[in-house]
């Protein structure tokens, strides 16, 4: 009899425990600020995290691509960036001197993850406070904006 009661106790308790237990699917963990960057490779630290995973060949500046890049800049970037002064985000005329081309493209294409995982970008977020928004650029769009930066970067910041 006692055994039966013990057994039913165990069964019932485990049923209750199971019924309250959580499900299997793991949820995305927001990364704590302390460990940002610890899991990045050397390439990622230099060139950012995102779809651009290897160095790209740049070649001479292509004026057509510059023009396309300028159009995208005017539509999707200038609400937050100016070339020569700080606005919502940093001034961008000299960005080509500050970062690698791959870093610039990854930042445009994958801002959420960059802000979450890359220590430099994390630092920028702390400074500017407004997160950079994902403007849904294609890799080709981002490449065009990069070309625009190469062109405007020839001049000195005013």
């Amino acid at each position: 009899m006692q055994k039966l009661i013990q057994l039913s106790l165990i069964v019932l308790l485990s049923l209750i425990l199971i019924s309250c237990g959580s499900e299997k699917k793991e949820t995305q963990q927001p990364q704590s600020s302390a460990e940002v960057g610890a899991d990045l490779t050397e390439f990622e630290l230099e060139n950012g995290v995102g779809p651009i995973k290897e160095k790209i060949e740049l070649g001479p500046i292509d004026p057509k691509l510059v023009k396309r890049g300028e159009e995208i800049w005017n539509q999707k970037c200038i609400a937050c960036h100016k070339l020569d002064e700080r606005y919502v985000g940093p001034a961008q005329r000299d960005v080509i001197q500050r970062r690698t081309p791959e870093f610039i493209m990854n930042m445009m294409l994958n801002p959420e993850e960059m802000q979450k995982r890359h220590p430099v970008v994390r630092q920028l977020l702390a400074e500017y406070m407004t997160p950079m928004t994902n403007q849904n650029l294609t890799v080709e769009d981002a490449r065009a904006v990069l070309e625009f930066f190469r062109e405007v970067g020839k001049e000195k910041k005013k």
Binding site: M1, Q2, I5, S8, L9, L12, L13, L15, I16, L17, I18, S19, C20, G21, S22, E23, K24, K25, T27, Q28, N74, Q75, K76, I78, A79, C80, Y87, V88, M129, T130, P131, T133, N134, Q135, N136
Partner: protein
């Protein structure tokens, strides 16, 4: 061990166990629910539900979106009611959606959500829903979960038997609960029998443009048409409509419309009706009704006023419509997944009558008629009935199917769901509903392929089920497991508005198509601001157009001067974000209008008519970033005769 001691030990353990159970268990309840119930409805934080549930809000005129099995509320879709939370029905772009031939109507009573179907199975493209009071049918796009089209139905009153769709969404049906003169006229109410008529409408969905068009109406005797369902499989060319008040009473229907032993289900061969229209048998009747649709590129509603409708008279159209006698004021009419059985909910009957589609065809062929009304032959009850479910419960209303040979019928008066077997008509199980169940919903339960895992009871009364909140109680639904032999109650969950009827669909069908943003490149709104460079203020007489952009976390322009008392100021706000879940909101002090919530890539317009000079702050209402509180601006309003020049800027004032 003595017997009494072990009994006492057992008693003590049971007491302790129940305490532990209540303490540790995930819910305590008045009902007998077994231990694994909590796990069956628990969706862990960050995990997704298996089904989307769309409930109509009844008298709130909206649609609620919930997850199953959790019962969590995700969204309220504005349909027939203005919603100041989003600006629906207030913004210039959405006001026209609520236009009718009676003018702008801010509210309606929405009863029956219905998915679009492909081959008799919900396809996840659209959800349709009816407006009862001022007859209309709305279409909700399930990519955006927004109302994108509303069509008004002329020659109708109380659009209750609506909007049920045919097997491939060729048509969406609508019919009249209230008969009225057709066309409407100033007559004596007591001339009901002579002057009042019902109509059954067929709204076509254009397969290419996906727009609705009122294809034709059938004028029928002046009964009350209550509910409908289209056939499927062998019966796919037919649609069925219940009727009551065949007594044709126009007062005290509670008594006067409950006298006849049998009323009718109208069986309509819509394929033949369509042919008669093509052959020119329909009369063109003048009528005035609105057709409003949302142009997703222009982000604006376009209204057109239609002036005529095609009307068929059964007298000119042999074989198009038949009456199936059905006991005592039938309410629901539901067709089983095979398309053979037509189940009626005879709300005052003691049986659930089930008609056979194949017997109906045979009876038509053999002309087994019992008279006719207005050119509509009445089939013999014995010739069409397949069987009756005896003593199911009191007040049977609606039936859904699990696809495994069973039917589930809601019973309002005895407040229960009764499970019975198709073919043998025997009752196999019953479960109480808390309380007074109306409709019920099995995912895909009115289609050819139900996902027969749950039935949701949609209840009219909650009484003691929740914490009291004054005289008005929450509305409620209940989730019941139907995978086993016995139905099992899993969860009560509150709903927004009356959960009149609901439809559910596996989440995987919808979530992959869910829109994340509107592409800014595709925005063709006439007042769009695609780049902050284009932000500007333009005066045209008394009308001032503010082309404003919003992005985290500023508006452009955010300082405006030169507005005068008496101006109509249109704020056309474009959200330049292109990222998921980043709406911005806009409002300004003293706005006699609602705020607008603008989705990424969208433009929305709100009209402001300032009445007094002064400084008016505006700001973003939807928390958008760490600097959301900084997302603000000022408008200076000057007297009507002032000569303050129009100027505007963000950041550095223009010289």
């Amino acid at each position: 061990m003595s017997n009494s001691f072990s009994k006492r030990l057992m008693l003590i353990s049971i007491i302790i166990l129940s305490f532990i159970g209540i303490y540790l268990g995930c819910k305590s309840s008045k009902d007998v629910v077994s231990g694994d119930v909590a796990q069956a409805v628990y969706v862990a934080p960050g995990s997704y539900d298996e089904f989307y549930l769309f409930t109509s809000g009844g008298f709130n005129g909206q649609v609620g979106v919930y997850g199953l099995p959790s019962g969590r509320h995700f969204k309220t879709i504005s349909v027939f009611s203005q919603n100041p939370e989003t600006g629906y029905g207030y913004s210039e772009e959405t006001k026209s959606m609520l236009m009718t031939s009676y003018g702008f109507i801010p509210w309606d009573d929405a009863h029956h959500p219905e998915f679009s179907m492909t081959d008799g199975v919900p396809d996840g493209r659209f959800l349709f829903i009816n407006a009862n009071n001022t007859p209309r049918v709305a279409k909700i796009d399930l990519k955006t979960f927004e109302t994108t089209e509303i069509i008004e139905i002329p020659n109708s009153a109380g659009n209750h038997a609506s909007p049920f769709v045919t097997e491939n969404t060729e048509y969406i049906v609508a019919s009249t609960r209230f008969s009225i003169p057709v066309p409407n006229a100033d007559v004596s109410i007591s001339s009901y029998k002579e002057n009042f008529k019902g109509t059954i409408s067929f709204i076509a969905l254009d397969p290419k443009t996906e727009k609705m068009n009122l294809a034709f109406q059938i004028v029928v005797p002046g009964y009350n048409y209550d509910l409908a369902h289209a056939g499927k499989g062998p019966s796919k060319d037919w649609a069925f409509f219940t009727s009551y008040n065949t007594e044709q009473a126009n007062t005290l229907l509670e008594i006067e419309a409950s006298k006849n032993d049998k009323d009718f289900i109208a069986a309509v061969n819509w394929r033949l009706a369509e042919k008669y229209v093509k052959e020119g048998k329909a009369k063109k009747m003048s009528a005035e009704y609105y057709h409003n649709y949302y142009d997703e590129k222009k982000h604006s509603t376009i209204s057109e006023v239609k002036k005529e409708v095609f009307v068929l008279d059964p007298k000119d159209c042999p074989g198009m419509i038949y009456y199936l006698p059905t006991p005592k004021s039938p309410h629901g009419v539901d067709v089983d997944p095979s398309g053979e059985y037509i189940v009626a909910g005879g709300k005052l009957a003691t049986v659930i009558p089930v008609h056979s589609f194949s017997r109906m065809l045979k009876a038509i062929e053999e002309k087994q008629f019992d008279g006719e009304v207005n050119g509509i032959p009445i089939l013999k009850y014995e010739a069409v009935i397949a069987g009756e479910v005896k003593n199911p419960g009191l007040g049977p209303l609606h039936t859904e199917f699990d696809g495994k040979g069973y039917a589930y019928t809601s019973h309002f008066v005895s407040s229960e769901i009764v499970k019975w077997k198709l073919g043998t008509w025997e009752v196999v199980d019953r479960i109480p509903a808390y309380y007074s169940i109306g409709h019920l919903c099995i995912p895909g339960g009115d289609s050819k392929k139900p996902w027969g895992k749950y039935v949701v009871a949609l209840n009219k009364i909650t009484k003691d089920r929740y914490l009291p909140t004054g005289p008005e109680f929450t509305q409620s639904a209940q989730l019941i497991d139907i995978t086993g032999e016995k139905m099992k109650l899993l969860l009560d969950f509150p709903t927004v508005g009356e959960p009149h009827y609901a439809q559910a669909i596996p989440a995987e069908i919808l979530m992959k198509n869910s829109a994340k943003i509107y592409r800014i490149e595709d925005n063709q709104h006439p007042y769009v601001t695609k780049s902050e460079k284009d932000a500007r203020v333009v005066r045209e007489g008394n009308n001032v157009h503010v082309y404003m952009s919003a992005i985290r976390s500023h508006f452009a322009p955010d300082n405006i001067e030169g507005i005068k008392v008496g101006d109509n100021v249109y704020f056309h706000v474009t959200n330049l974000e292109q990222d998921w879940d980043l709406p911005h909101g806009f409002t300004i002090k003293g706005l006699n209008n609602a705020e607008v919530l603008i989705m990424p890539g969208q433009t929305k317009t709100i009209l402001w008519q300032p009445k007094k000079p002064g400084i008016y702050p505006f700001y973003c209402t939807d928390f958008c970033s760490a600097l959301h509180q900084e997302m603000q601006g000022y408008v200076r309003v000057s007297p009507a005769n002032s000569n303050v020049a129009l100027s505007y800027y963000t950041g550095t004032p223009k010289k």
